[in-house]
Amino acid sequence: MEKTATPTQPKIFGILAEFGSPNEVYKAAKKVRDQGYKKWDVHSPYPIHGIDSAMGIGDSKMGWIALFSAFAGAFGGFSLQYWVSVYAQPVVIGGKPINPYPAFIPVTFEPGVLFTAFGCIIGMLVLNGLPRLYHATFKSKNFARFSDDGFFISIEARDKRFNVSETRKLLEDAGGRNIEVLED
């Protein structure tokens, strides 16, 4: 295990390799997955179709967060209107009932949508550990191409199977170029 770095030596974050096309990175991801790596990632300028199964990662939890936010918002919206109209200020306006619940649909729906939107963006950021302005991959000059036309695989030293020479060889065999060992 390379993790046993002495205090004078910088800690290794992992290994970064570049691939020439979505097809190459897709095939390489399958190889890394089949080797049993868990703490690794693919970096691409756009979401590659089917890469999650090629990487062997499970389904996103976003749906649950959104569902919970939607109910919270809708429940909050309706409760507010009900409390105001029935308890806080029970006034007959325009001959309408004290609890005209069909009239409460718009302000039940809108907070539901509003909360879901916040749930989506905040949930997405929290699940992804963002915002995180510093990351070891940013140390690589070459890595900036991930947002243009570069495709990368990074394997982290935290992974149980990580071994500098073996992991490097795996990425080389999978067709990786510009392989770099990154410090944390």
Binding site: H49, V113, M124, N128, Y134
Partner: protein, 469 residues
């Protein structure tokens, strides 16, 4: 590699006229990284002048009161509400393009979605101003929100005007979040290309440390899908609620069940028209021909034909119901709209909204840039007059003694003109400093983006543009 597949009618048209990811990055980053063309500065100066005019006139209104406008009983809503409905309607195409077309996997939307989302946000800002300044006592505008106060008075949740407060503020916030979320990967592209320290610093903060991770993309795409799924009913609800402002009141000519769908169709209609107007200008000024293709414009024109026909149908149905209902007040309201003192407004409305989009049945017209440019402008004029015609129905209300001829004052007119300054200022800033097209999404729809591209030439070339994300 450039594939020219447009000539073959059996194949899908290419969405992007290049096969190179780097070229896409270059084309879309160029406007933000080079000095703006002279036209940009001229337009910015004009926009800023109009913006200051608007701010000045709003100040004058606050100082003097709503008497500086032409509104009076019975026409108490006047231009302020016309402008509100018009601007918010324009905003609707943005969400429609981003959300509904996304759900239907209409991948040609990538060329126009960023653009129209930006337009939505700025249009909703312009819209939001009018009801706020129309209340008269601006210093108590916070009363529209359910805030605890020492008077123990709460807003009336039975009123469509309050629903509007929630609908419009939700719409603005959700549109902004949706837009920003789409921008995150593209801001990362700009960050990684930045050459100066300040530029890199600012972009790095707004890109939130995005590193294109597949694990991140997974959550991101799911969140984007859910946002699209909730924005779809949202966009339909917002203009429905706007139409409730009219339809829930017991006023002949307003109290009709056709209003919500008719308003939504009209909103999408006018929104598409303005997106296209702006897109045609920007495409020309910034040279985006390779990513904004005739195919996209043609599709937008078909949308305008569809929604324009829906609007025309709604006009016809309103007249039919006015006659068929046998209600003399309803009948009078519509006869008076079409043939009364404001016949000219009705005439402009019908000729711009019903007749002009019908020209889009012809492919040659759908693909002629000057003609489509003129038609989009006509549609926007027509849609403004549609709202004018509706609001002005009040000029001949239940008491003939109070009938009158409503006229706007110079303050009404120039405040409206001034909102173009607000819109223009923000839009020009967007064009100059942010990615005008969704870089990551445009790359995603290229055939080369498919992970199986190149494995089997025939399969990859034909499915690349149609496969899911």
């Amino acid at each position: 590699m450039i594939l020219h597949r447009d000539d073959d009618p059996t194949k899908r048209p290419m969405l992007v006229e290049t096969g190179d990811f780097h070229e896409v990055t270059e084309i879309i980053s160029k406007p933000a990284e080079t000095k703006a063309p002279a036209t940009w500065f001229v337009l910015m100066l004009a926009s800023l002048s109009l913006l200051s005019l608007m701010v000045g006139l709003i100040g004058y209104l606050f100082w003097q009161g709503t008497g500086v406008w032409g509104v009076n009983v019975p026409v108490a809503w006047g231009w302020a509400i016309v402008n509100f409905v018009w601007w918010i309607g324009i905003g609707h195409a943005g969400t429609l393009i981003s959300a509904i077309l996304f759900l239907f996997r209409q991948r040609w939307r990538t060329a126009i979605n960023r653009f129209s989302e930006a337009m939505t946000i700025f249009a909703v800002m312009c819209a939001g101003i009018f009801p706020v300044i129309h209340v008269g006592r601006i210093w108590v505008i916070y009363w529209v929100f359910p805030l605890p106060n020492q008077m123990q008075v709460w807003p009336n949740f039975r009123s469509p005007l309050l629903w509007d407060v929630f609908a419009v503020s939700t719409y603005f916030t959700v549109s902004l979040l949706f837009w920003y979320m789409g921008l995150i990967p593209d801001l990362a592209t700009f960050r990684d290309r930045a050459t100066t320290g300040v530029r890199k610093f600012i972009l790095a903060i707004f890109a939130l440390g995005w590193r294109g991770s597949a694990r991140h993309w997974q959550n991101y795409e799911r969140a984007y899908l859910i946002l699209a799924a909730i924005s779809t009913p949202l966009v339909l609800s917002v203009h429905s609620i706007v139409s409730f402002d009219f339809a829930v009141s017991k006023v002949p000519g307003w109290h009709t069940t056709i209003f919500p769908p008719y308003f939504v169709a009209g909103a999408v209609f006018s929104g598409f028209a303005l997106v296209e107007t702006l897109l045609l200008i920007s495409r020309q000024v910034f040279g985006l021909h390779k990513v904004v293709r005739m195919h996209h414009l043609d599709n937008m024109n078909k949308f305008m034909l569809l929604t324009g026909s829906l609007v025309g149908y709604a006009y016809a149905m309103e007249l039919f119901v006015a006659w068929y209902s046998g209600n003399i007040y309803e009948r009078f309201a519509f006869w008076n709209r079409a043939l009364g003192e404001y016949w000219w407004a009705y005439f402009i409305m019908v000729s711009c909204n019903v007749i002009s989009p019908q020209l889009f049945w012809f492919k040659r017209i759908r693909q002629s840039i000057p003609i489509m440019f003129i038609i989009t402008i006509l549609i926007n004029i027509g849609m403004w007059f549609e709202r004018f015609v509706i609001v002005i129905t009040l000029h001949a209300d239940f008491l003939p003694s109070s009938w009158g001829y409503y006229r706007p004052t110079w303050v009404d007119i120039w405040t409206y003109v001034g909102t173009f300054g607000l819109f223009g200022t923000f839009f020009l800033l967007f064009l100059k400093f942010l990615p005008q097209l969704a870089i990551a999404e445009v790359k995603g729809v290229m055939p080369q983006a498919n992970p199986h591209f190149g494995e089997d030439h025939h399969a990859a070339a034909t499915t690349g543009a149609s496969k899911g994300h």
